[in-house]
Structures are given as C-alpha cells and as structure tokens.
Assembly symmetry: C2
Homo-oligomer: 346 residues x 2
C-alpha cells in the first residue's frame, strides 16, 4: 500500500489514501480516521504526529468512500428552476448564494438539479433513491405544489422556504418571511411621512403570498383609521399591469403613495409617474417588495421591503442539521421579519 507522496504540489495520479497516511505515521488506519473525525480519542502527541503527516501528504478523505460507509453525502439538493427573468427570480438567486454560504459553514455543499415540468418529483426521486443527497431545500411551496407532500410521504428530510398555505395537508418543517409584516412596515413608514391616501397594487387573489402581503397594508391602514376603499388593485405581476393599475388608481382615487406586492409592479408605477411627469418621492411615494437589483440600480432609488435571506438560509441549515441528527425540531415553522430599505422614492 506504499505510495509516493505528492511531488511538489502536483496532484498525484492516485491521490493519497488513509492507508498511506497510516503507514507513514506508523499508526493504524483507524487511528488516522479518528484523528480526522474524533480527535479526542487520541493522545495529544499521536494526534499531532498524524496531523503533521496528513499535512505533509496533503491528504483529504475520499468523499465517495466515506459516503458509502456512512450513508451520507454532505450534500443538500436544491431544485434550480429555469431562469424566468423576473424580479422574483433574482430574489431566489440571492437566496441560493446565502444558502451556499450557510451550508458550507455546516460542512455541506449545495447540489443543483434542474426542474422537469413533466415530472415535478422526478429529480427528487432520483437523488433520493441513489442516496446522492442527505436532504433537500424546497423553495416553491405554493398551493398545490406536490413536492413537499411527496417528500413528506417518502420520509425524506427536507426544509421548505415558504409556508404550507394549505396546512391541513402539510406537516413539514418550514422557514418563511412574514410578508404582511413587510407591508405593515412599508405602510406605516408612509403614514409616518404624512401620507393618508395610500394605494395597494398586488397580485391576483389566488396567490396566498400576495394576499398575505396585502393584509399587512390593509390592517395598518385600518389601525390608523384610514380608509382603503377604492385604493386596492389586484393584477398580474408584470410591469405593464402595474403601470395600468397605477394610472387607474391615480385617476379615480388620487392616492399620494403606493405600496406594491413586488418591485416589478413598483416599476410599473414609476413608469406611469414618468409619463405623467410626476417625480417619485416628491410628488408620489412608491414602495416595492424584494429589494431587487432593479430597486437598487434605478436612478431614483426604490424604497423596498427586503427579505432577510441570509437569516432564512442560516435558519434552514440549522433546522436541517437537527433533522439529520434526529434531534427534535423546536418549532415546525419559523417566521422571520423583513426590513424596509428606504430610498429616494418615498
């Protein structure tokens, strides 16, 4: 089993194995394994000697062998939906970045696999049965999505980013951001600035996330004794629709501020203001949702609700570790608070 050490820093044809280290350090394989995984079991001087040999030979445990024996992979699967080019998608990308960071700190890597429209659970099934990943992070848990239910049924460990809105079925663990709290922040911010006629432009009624965000605006308005009649609009999540809705609301209800369910819709409002020669922030205030790049780069900075995606990722990874180590999870769901990033538009 003797092997040549790495010449220079060149990778050898066959990488160093645990047995190589053992022989060189004059100990058994198990001792080397313990030096890596259970250092407390070794006498300090032995540990030091083995560690030095590991460093000398540039040894890293073979992932495949370890995975085979321990029946784990240190990989977290994430279905990466195809680029749809909207502001919501950009939010997801920011989340993926956070997830990669958080996972790494817990010793996990993130494995991406594509979405297959025809077979929504196909990718999951494959990775699960071939024991390629330890767990999943599920991101699209909107109403009627089969993934979460399917994974639960398979007893596959996973954490969802997003609440199960039809909670009579779902019994899984989740982390989410309180959208209503976000729009409450936004609305209160505008009220504090003296606005009283604050309009809402949101998504269609069948979107639970949209209705949640809408409720934040609604309750805050009412809590402040402000009327909301004629000030709400529900449209498709595209710039064009946002612009139209803003035009109609301006004509019919003369609002002085807009709270939107997304930055995309807020862009639409800004478009209408532009056409009507109204200055955002001075004439009319606008607040968006998601703090997308558009909000940041836009010449007139767009005030927007920002989801704490870094925290979401950390919380998800923390929960995953509990699940994987079969420890009890304190709460089935965790709800995090968003923040308001204030810019020139309000």
């Amino acid at each position: 089993m003797a092997r040549e050490p790495r010449s220079g820093s060149q990778l050898p044809v066959t990488p160093t194995t645990l047995a190589d280290v053992a022989e060189r350090a004059g100990v058994s394989r198990q001792t080397v394994s313990n030096a890596v995984n259970n250092p407390d079991l070794l006498r300090p001087d032995t540990l030091e000697r083995v560690r030095q040999t590991i460093a000398e030979l540039g040894y890293s445990p073979n992932r495949a062998a370890r995975n085979l024996r321990t029946r784990t992979s240190s990989l977290i699967g994430l279905r990466f939906t195809p680029a749809q080019e909207g502001t919501a998608n950009a939010m997801m990308d920011r989340f993926v970045h956070s997830l990669v960071e958080a996972s790494d700190e817990a010793g996990y890597h993130v494995l991406l696999f594509p979405a297959d429209d025809e077979d929504p659970v196909g990718g999951y099934d494959n990775l699960l049965r071939s024991t390629a990943v330890d767990a999943f992070v599920v991101t699209d848990t909107y109403l009627g999505n089969p993934q979460a239910a399917w994974l639960s049924q398979q007893r596959a460990p996973f954490v969802a980013f997003g609440r199960p809105w039809d909670d009579d079925v779902a019994r899984h663990v989740w982390v989410d951001v309180d959208g209503a709290a976000g729009t409450r922040l936004a609305t209160q911010h505008l009220i504090d600035r003296g606005h009283t006629r604050i309009a809402w432009i949101g998504w269609r009624k069948d979107s639970p996330i949209g209705e949640d965000r809408r409720s934040g605006w609604l309750t805050t308005m009412h809590a402040n004794g402000l009327s909301t009649t004629g000030l709400a609009s529900r449209v498709e999540d595209v710039v064009h629709s946002g612009a139209e809705a803003a035009a109609v609301l301006l004509d019919e209800s003369t609002p002085t501020a807009f709270v939107c369910a997304s930055d995309t819709l807020a862009m639409g409002v800004l478009h209408t203001l532009w056409i009507r020669q109204l200055a955002p922030g001075r004439d009319i205030a606008v607040v968006g949702f998601d703090d997308s790049q558009v909000a940041q780069v836009f010449p007139v900075g767009l005030t927007s609700v920002r989801q704490p995606l870094e925290d979401v990722a950390v919380e998800i990874v923390r929960t995953l570790r509990l699940l994987l180590s079969h420890q009890p999870v304190e709460a089935r769901g965790v709800l995090l608070e968003p923040t308001l990033v204030i810019r020139e538009s309000s």
Copy 2:
C-alpha cells in the same frame, strides 16, 4: 441479502441494492450491472426481465458506491461568488441556470461551493483531493486570477468561461463571448439609425474585458469614418459614475447616443437624461451590456447586448465531456457571438 421490496411508494429504510435486484430477477449482480451500464451485452429477454425487476423494486444505483469504484462523481464544481448585487452578478446567475440544464443533459450535476477570499484555491483544492467532483467550471478568469493557473498545474480538468487575457501563462481550455462583437453590433445599430456622435462609457483601463468591449465601439466608429475624439470615458462600474460621465460628455461633446460597457453604467446615463428632462430613445439613444433584468424591467426598455449564455453553457459541458473522456479538444478556445436586444431606448 434478501430485502423487502418498497411497500407502496414509501422509501424503505435501507434502499434497494443491486444484489436485491439480482436475486429477485434470478441473475447475478454483474448481469444487473450490465443491464444498467452495458445493455448490449445481454440477451434481449434477459435484459427485459432485469429491467422490469429494476422498475418493480424502484432501484437506483447507489451513487457513493459507484463513485468509489469508478473514481468519478458525475459532479461539476462551480465556485459561487457571494452576492455582490450588481448587474454583472445577475448575468452570472443566468449562466448558472443554463449550466445546470446543460450539465443535466450530459448526466452531470452542479455542485456549488463558496468563495473564500483569503484562500482563492482552497475550495478547489479540497474538492479535488477528496475526489468530490470530476471537473470544474471556472468563471472569473480575469487577469491575475490564480485559479486557472493553479488548476492547470494540478492537472485538474476544467473549462473556463472567459478568455485567459494574459495568454502567455494560460494554456487551458475556455469558452467566451466576443464582447467587441457586441459593442460593434450596438454601435452599428446606432449608426444605422442615423447617429454620428456616439459616446462610449466603459470601465477603467486595467479591465481587459472593458478594453475589449471598447475596441468594438472604436473600430466600428472608425470603419464608418466617424470621429471618436472626446467621446470616450472610463469610469468605475457603478450607477453614480455612469451618470457623472454622461453629464460631462453631454456638456463637452454633445453626443446623441451612448454605448456602455454595462447595464449599470447605462442606468447612470438614463439617470442623467431623466434629470435633464431628456427622453431616452427620442432625444438620446442608450445601449447597455448584459441584458440584465434592469434593462428588461425598466419603464423605458433598455437596448442591450445579450450574451448567449445558454450556448456558452452547452459548449462548456460539451468540452468538459471531451476532457473527461480523454478525447482531443478541437480548439483551445471557443468564441461565441452575442446579440443585440433592441428596446425603446434606441
């Protein structure tokens, strides 16, 4: 070795193995393996019988065991740089999506690992030595970046998205987009629309990518007999700088159009136009680079150069497969042509 088949569609505690399939189908393990990996070696009726058993038991080969034996992982490593929140980053995210799709079709998955600023090759080294990935895709090959050179030296298979600009050192395989061709398209488009005084706002001189894009503008102007004196500006890639540069150029050289090295800078130009009450597209034309979401969502759609990232990803995966199967790669580098997405701003 007898195991219970899966009850219903529930995942068993210990998944089905190749030996289970063999026993149930009344053949040897090797025959099952061949049915999966070398179907031609089996008699049609045997193959059919084994395949049916595989389907019945819901068998998928254990990834770890296969990886250990074959010394491959079917994983492609990609360093996922932390979210810097610029338009360039959004471009990378779009590329990752394409890469996941292209990899999947070739039977690979994408493994993300975070960037460590202190040790630029740390993540690579780890994955390489632990044989966790088969190859890498390197995305940040700008001047002076050590990754590519280091990987080459380690004889690690990888393909770069981006040319090695200091090509006296680099000898690796790459795929890139012809930035100069993009700005040529943009400039010619503006010339065709009757513009003669077309300004350039680009990055600082030490960016080879920026200089490449600049050259496309320069050569096209000269090829059409147009002067470029006083029409070029090199600044930081932030909105603010773009706005300033546009203001200076407008005052001093009265251009009627702008070509920018990025959408970020184009946003700055739009900002200045907004302040000066100039209508983009009607009074002054603007072209950006990268076709980011900002360009698409902006009320006045921004004309922008779009990189064919889907094609880049496909080409990268194709090249990787050649590398991994030790087949000769036809060309050390492949240069793809971008397209111009024309919107209202020009």
